[in-house]
Symmetry: C2
Subunit: 426 residues, 2 copies
């Protein structure tokens, strides 16, 4: 199949895309920019601009301290309830708070304390390293002979589920996994893992950072115990926007948040000297939430809820399959491999391509020659080009263009003009 045919196909798919009207709801100030990093930082919803202006000028500037009673105080739970609808959770089971890392610390610590006598935590090598760092820190600072076991992966793309199954036993307190792996986009079978853990009396804590807003998640229906996730990727919440946490209803009043701040207190404005935990999900709040960053989450959430996770998933799967087909046809001959699951059911909403020159290819995409578009994907060490598909605004044509560009770069050697120096990279 030639380029022209792929291009025509992409155009036709965009023309008939039932979600196409959403693209204009996200700011696109640069015509000549293709953004394939919405899985790291989602684009700015147009409505967020006015919302933030009003929040700063009116709510803070005019309402001042009264803003807390006029909506700020309820914001973590109100937004949590909106996120809940995206991830199959009931009202009052999701709270926006802190960062993903802090939330993971709180819930993992609470789970270990609850699971007295069990000393094993299970994760795997596909998990986001920060999640492992948090667990390591928890074991060092508050552990009580606990150990962390990591199941492996033979190819860096798919987890070794058999090994996971073998690791999870009657001594296991907690299983911590990322529902969609940050590098390969492997999408775990939540129900199967939950069952595996529950049969052994273990709790499961899922990191939904690459899953929320990208794939269908059914926290309640699958009997999930605990979950955390970020809001700055597919939820378009803005740089470093606060994270969320989920606690199964039955666990909310028996788990203890180790970080006992006043926003998790039963009656914070009584200023009693001894902590009495709030009931329900609010117990897992800590300090005063950063309202500007938190409020910025809402317009993106509203867009996702309006589009619906089923339609988003359908388009995302269609797009990732299209991208993989193009990569196979056009880039495989040039040494590029697909490093994401080929089974759509097991694939999240990004696709990883690997090439030994991944770093320099990305430099060429970011700083193109002549009038080529700037293309922004992600680099993930050592050789990974991570292409984020955000069905709310990614077009099929953009996916076609990035594959064509990589082909041209590798064919002409354009990437060799760039340095291999990776200092200062984030």
């Amino acid at each position: 199949m030639d380029l022209k045919a792929f291009f025509d196909e992409a155009r036709e798919l965009d023309r008939t895309d039932p979600l196409r009207r959403f693209r204009q709801q996200l700011a696109h100030p640069e015509e000549n920019l293709i953004y394939l990093d919405g899985n790291s930082l989602g684009r700015l919803p147009v409505k967020t601009i006015a919302r933030m202006y009003e929040l700063v000028r009116e709510d803070w500037g005019r309402q001042l301290i009264r803003g807390w009673n006029d909506g700020w105080y309820d914001l973590p739970l109100r937004l949590g309830n909106k996120i809940a609808r995206l991830i199959g959770a009931g009202e009052g089971s999701v709270l926006v708070a802190d960062s993903t890392s802090v939330n993971l610390f709180k819930l993992a610590s609470a789970a270990l304390r609850y699971q007295q006598g069990r000393r094993k935590i299970i994760s795997d090598v596909l998990n986001f390293p920060t999640d492992l760092y948090i667990l390591q820190g928890l074991l060092q600072s508050g552990g009580n002979g606990h150990t962390l076991h990591l199941a492996g992966s033979s190819d860096g793309i798919t987890p070794d589920i058999k090994e996971l199954e073998h690791c999870i036993d009657q001594e296991t307190a907690l299983v911590v996994l990322s529902l969609v792996s940050f590098k390969s986009a492997y999408f775990y079978e939540m129900q199967a893992i939950n069952d595996m853990a529950h049969q052994n009396g273990a709790l499961v804590l899922w990191d939904l950072s690459h899953a929320a807003g990208a794939v269908p998640v059914h926290l309640d229906r699958t009997g999930t115990d605990l979950a955390v996730g970020c809001t700055y990727k597919y939820l378009n919440g803005g740089p470093g926007s606060p994270a969320f946490l989920y606690v199964r209803r039955e666990l909310q009043d028996v788990l203890m948040n180790p970080i006992q701040g006043w926003f998790g207190e039963y009656d914070p404005f009584a200023f009693e000297l001894n902590y009495l935990p709030a009931t329900g999900i609010s117990r897992f709040a800590v300090g005063s939430p950063p309202i500007l960053s938190m409020a910025a989450i809402e317009p993106g959430l509203d867009l996702l809820l309006e589009a619906g996770i089923i339609a988003l998933r359908e388009k995302s799967l269609h797009q990732s399959a299209f991208l993989i087909r193009l990569a196979d046809e056009l880039l495989a001959p040039l040494g590029v491999s697909v490093a994401s699951p080929r089974d759509g059911a097991r694939r999240g909403s990004h696709v990883s391509l690997t090439h030994p020159e991944a770093w320099r290819i990305i430099q060429a995409l970011l700083q193109p020659l002549d009038d080529q578009p700037v293309i922004i994907p992600d680099f993930r060490a050592p050789d990974n080009i991570r292409i984020g598909i955000t069905p709310l605004y990614t077009t099929f044509e953009e996916l076609f263009v990035v594959i064509r560009r990589i082909r041209d770069i590798l064919t002409t050697g354009e990437h060799t003009r760039h340095s291999n120096d990776r200092s200062g990279v984030t």
Copy 2:
């Protein structure tokens, strides 16, 4: 002295106020509002409006993920260095991160681990209850036979320093106090307490929430070990804006942050599976910081640095003395007491007045009859009217007006029209 004389004096003091030009740098959208709660949520700096608009529209909307390399990644340390100048700390010893509560948890946990073999934590009953909650949670979740001792206060205004001295002994790991007490505004002698602790081998952790930007603080010079504080009060950082933490240089590479997130990692984008802590203050970062809320801190900081803490303190002391003089003269006969230190050297930048009807007096101030100004102070249970003096924008005339209003309310019984129902209060 009659009202007219006080009024004239206030007017004259405002006329000759060397900081008067700063008032217009803070938004005052409501003419008829007197805001005396800058010690809870500072007013909006005018420059913050444009800064936030640009941050959202350009930095997020246009720069997208590239914003991290274009300033966001360095923001916690860059703003930390500005705060450092306000609190007598050197470059690289202050970081903006998380909430005050989370920072307190991190530093207290690190200190306890460092002080192996010492089992006592000392605080007192004047400390902000959340600080005590955090310590209680830490001891329950990660404690190792540690205990928390609270020194008392005979009057709820001043701490029992003798008892503190008695409590701090060779078994003491850590002393945790608020440098300016949230209710009475008592201002501790930092050097004396530090010396008391250090003579016994204990570390000290100060909460500067009511001190930073309000009183001179000399962290380095006094040999302070650890400190935390918020930025939404006197620093005018906005609702729930991220907090800061300080770690004495010699302790930075020996203390371990228990919450090991990727922003505290040595090389986060290497994605190694085992945590290697960053060197320096960055080790005490955790997850991705909320950039919108964090960036909003800067314009207020710049104003404070321009005004200078010496000039701010001078005006603040002058204002609180003026307020106390008015309260003594005009309100004492009506049953109102001053519940803050009368010694200026021991008083922060707010003044607490107590009256059995404090709650209803405040309702009358907030919802005045006729064309009276709306006046916003703070209520602190059970009987406390907390008047925040923010020398950057508070005028002497405003202080005069609030005292006159309280006098009028108590004289006419206006407060008795209001309900005593306190539900939903924040």
